[in-house]
């Protein structure tokens, strides 16, 4: 494998890792606050649809992004209503939201565009264009560093950089602010937070809505950055891979970045190379596709470093009477 192929592979990995990373951080906020979110997939899908639709109508991708975030936040609100306000089962609520998104996107899409569940092809200002960082062209001549900067670091859409910046931001918010301390405490021991006079309901709703915003950006990137429009079921299990990455990362932001890049790399390898041989044995494509899930099960099994979820995850908080 030569250097340019390697850069091509890594470049593709970063693109494919971006929606995973945003969704994974969304799950991180939610689950750190004690609300398990298996509805990430549904939020990605609904955000992708509404961002592509709004971008197609208005021709402005930023309005598309806003629409995607709004749609995803509505879903988050529903999840919060079910699992926080009415103390329902968070897992069941998540499952319901996934189906709701899978159904609604096609039903509404058919009614609006009549293109078999697709949105019209997006062009120009209706898509997030790749941006070239300063000096990328000039530096191309420098050996190794030039192509690295030009091919890998430069030339992504703005949302890729936003996603990467979200990692330190998430870390800072969760581990260096009072808000983050309370958010994590709500996920570990809500009664203690309640005793301290902080609203558990308020904290959990905030966390769930932040997750909505992040999923909204991820969905918008899928439909207006990575591809040029919405296609039926375009999230294709990415929400679940993000969930897997979250467990893989043991609910920590920096590890989340690593896990998502790894899963992005697996995805990119699978789509760039049809035949992979490791030590003379052909590795089936399907194995590469299943690898994120297999790795997650192995991690969950606790054979390779134990993944311990937030203690109060999945348990509705009932205030003492």
């Amino acid at each position: 494998m030569d250097l340019s192929t390697l850069f091509l592979l890594l470049d593709s990995s970063v693109r494919l890792a971006t929606p995973l990373l945003l969704a994974c951080l969304a799950g991180l906020f939610s689950e750190r606050a004690g609300i398990i979110d298996i509805g990430l997939e549904g939020k990605l899908l609904i955000a992708a649809f509404f961002s592509a639709s709004a971008a197609a109508y208005t021709g402005n991708v930023w309005l598309g992004l806003l629409a995607g975030i709004a749609a995803s936040m509505v879903f988050s609100g529903l999840h919060g209503l079910a699992s926080i306000t009415f103390q329902g089962n968070q897992l069941i609520s998540g499952v319901a939201l996934n189906f709701l998104a899978a159904g609604m996107t096609v039903v509404i899409g058919e009614s609006w565009f009549a293109l078999g569940g697709r949105t019209p092809q997006l062009e120009g200002a209706a898509r997030f264009q790749n941006i070239t960082l300063p000096f990328a062209e000039e530096a191309q001549g420098v050996p190794f560093i030039g192509p690295l900067y030009h091919d890998l670091i430069s030339g992504h859409s703005i949302l890729v950089y936003v996603a990467l910046l979200m990692v330190p931001l998430t870390w800072w918010v969760l581990f260096r602010t009072r808000f983050g301390l309370r958010l994590r405490a709500v996920g570990e021991n809500p009664a203690a937070v309640d005793t301290a006079g902080v609203s558990v309901t308020g904290m959990r709703f905030t966390a769930v809505l932040i997750a909505g915003v992040l999923c909204g950006i991820a969905g918008a990137y899928l439909a207006t950055g990575l591809s040029a429009g919405f296609v039926k079921d375009m999230s294709a299990g990415r929400g679940f891979i993000a969930l897997a990455a979250l467990i893989f990362a043991k609910w920590r932001p920096w590890y989340a970045l690593m896990a998502c890049l790894l899963f992005g790399l697996l995805d990119a390898t699978g789509s760039l190379f049809q035949n992979i041989r490791i030590l003379g044995v052909a590795v089936p494509v399907q194995f590469m596709q299943a690898l994120p899930y297999i790795l997650t099960v192995v991690i969950l099994a606790g054979f390779v470093g134990r993944a311990i979820p937030p203690k109060a995850g999945g348990v509705p908080y009932v205030k003492e009477q």
Binding site: F86, G88, V107, S111, G237, A244, I247, Y293, V297
Partner: protein, 441 residues
């Protein structure tokens, strides 16, 4: 004792009479309202490419809400005065479903179609002909198996979301049995395939169950992961191992003619089933599974332990119930039931293993189990309703192309949302109503 027996019999007769009266009131009320709203909106029926005027849509919505209030209200009175125990089993699910129907109607209205017309098309398509019944019951068979699977796990307070993968691997079991063993007669083939399906389905549930029982890994996450792994595995096997040489299609060879399960047309042609009907003898296996699960959960020692464990893990452990054993057994039974879905879909209909033989039925099982309150009778009724929805939905797509087939997913999502996640929201007003009635009397 004859007096006591007489009193009980009299009480039963009164209850029966009241149920009949209530059903008649609901039926006549609905008929009257339907006729009224149909006459009202008839002059506003739009042409082919127009949509309904707003007032006609609002009239339909009001009709739906009023008819729900009528049906639920009559049921509530009956339950309150005659059978307060049935509040959770009848009234709460009925209200949830009414809410799901109303929201679905809102969606249909939003895309400019008529919910009333859609309902009529669906009901006619699902149960208006032998053809429709054949498909309705075929789908219901799938949903009974997957619904029972989720229900058994629910009793042990576990959420088996892996029905999709377990059923696919169950299909693998069916295919291996049917292709590798020369089976002389369909009855023997059915028996062998049932064992194959159940064992393979259970095996696919065994790893997540073991990880939950021994290592505490969350069963929901592991079963989701196993769904994806199953689908990748199936693609690999169909493309590389089972594919017929020279064929491009990723599917196994057709099963031998001797293993073909008798269809409803073979058994009961006088009921109006067509030769092409997919409904087959595995429907009877599904009914037997309902009875079996009922016996297991309510009449057996293991079932008692499963329920005890589901109510309180610490309590169960205190009573000498071994948690690892209960988690493993309930998940194995659950996986086995999911796997048996393949009898109907793989052996009964396709007669070969194709890519994605499950078609989302594993997930429908979640809605079915929630709606049926994890009781076999409830699961059967809910599966029948979802069978009607699926067959009716296919007809709907044909007759009203503006409403796409994915509307089924929306309905499924709303049923799961209202009967599962928003249960407390539905329950609270009913509790308040009962409290109010009690104060009044």
């Amino acid at each position: 004792m004859p007096d006591a027996a007489n009193t009980r019999l009299a009480g039963l007769m009164v209850n029966l009479a009241l149920v009949i009266v209530a059903a008649a009131v609901i039926y006549l009320g609905l008929r009257w309202m339907t006729a009224g709203v149909e006459a009202l909106i008839a002059p506003a029926t739009p042409g082919r490419d127009e949509s309904w005027p707003l007032w006609a849509q609002v009239a339909q919505l009001v009709y739906l809400i009023l008819s729900s209030v009528l049906a639920i209200g009559v049921m509530a009175l009956l339950v309150f005065f005659r059978a307060p125990d049935l509040r959770d089993a009848v009234l709460v699910p009925a209200t949830s479903i009414a809410l799901a129907i109303i929201v679905t109607a809102l969606v249909i209205i939003a895309i400019g179609e008529s919910p009333l017309q859609a309902t009529q098309v669906m009901v006619r398509g699902a149960i208006g002909s032998g053809y429709g019944w054949g498909y309705t019951l075929f789908y219901a068979t799938n949903f009974i198996f997957t619904g029972l699977a989720v229900a058994v796990a629910f009793h042990a307070r576990m959420f088996n979301i892996g029905g999709e993968g377990q059923a696919a691997i169950g299909g693998l079991g069916v295919a291996i049995v049917c292709l590798s063993v020369p089976l002389p007669h369909w009855s023997i083939a059915l028996l062998a395939a049932t064992i194959g399906a159940a064992v393979f389905g259970a095996a696919w549930a065994a790893i997540p169950a073991y990880l939950q029982a021994r290592r505490g890994s969350h069963i929901v996450i592991t079963t989701i992961m196993f769904n994806f792994i199953a689908s990748a595995l199936l693609v690999y096997l169909l493309v590389n191992v089972f594919r017929v040489p020279g064929s491009m299609a990723p599917e196994t060879a057709r099963f031998a003619e001797a293993t073909r399960l008798p269809s409803a047309h073979d058994i009961a042609p006088w009921l109006g089933f067509r030769p092409s009907t997919p409904l087959n003898v595995s429907f009877l296996v599904a009914l037997a599974a309902c009875v079996g699960v009922w016996l297991l959960i309510w009449k057996s020692r293991l079932g008692y332990e499963i329920r005890a464990f589901g109510h309180s893990q610490t309590g169960a452990v205190y009573a000498g119930i071994h948690p690892v054993r209960i988690i493993m057994l309930s998940m194995l039974i659950s996986g086995g039931l999911s796997g048996m879905m393949a009898l109907n879909a793989v052996m009964g209909e396709a007669e070969r293993l194709v890519l994605d033989p499950v078609q989302g039925a594993g997930f429908v099982g979640i809605a079915v189990a929630l709606m049926g309150r994890s009781h076999p009778l409830g699961v059967f009724l809910a599966a029948l309703l979802f069978g009607m929805l699926y067959q009716g939905g296919a007809e709907l797509e044909f007759e009203m192309p503006a409403i796409s087939r994915e509307m089924l997913l929306v309905i499924q999502a709303l049923v799961i949302l209202f009967t599962g996640a928003l249960d407390n929201m539905v329950r609270a007003p009913i509790d308040r109503l009962f409290l109010y009635l009690r104060k009044g009397s």
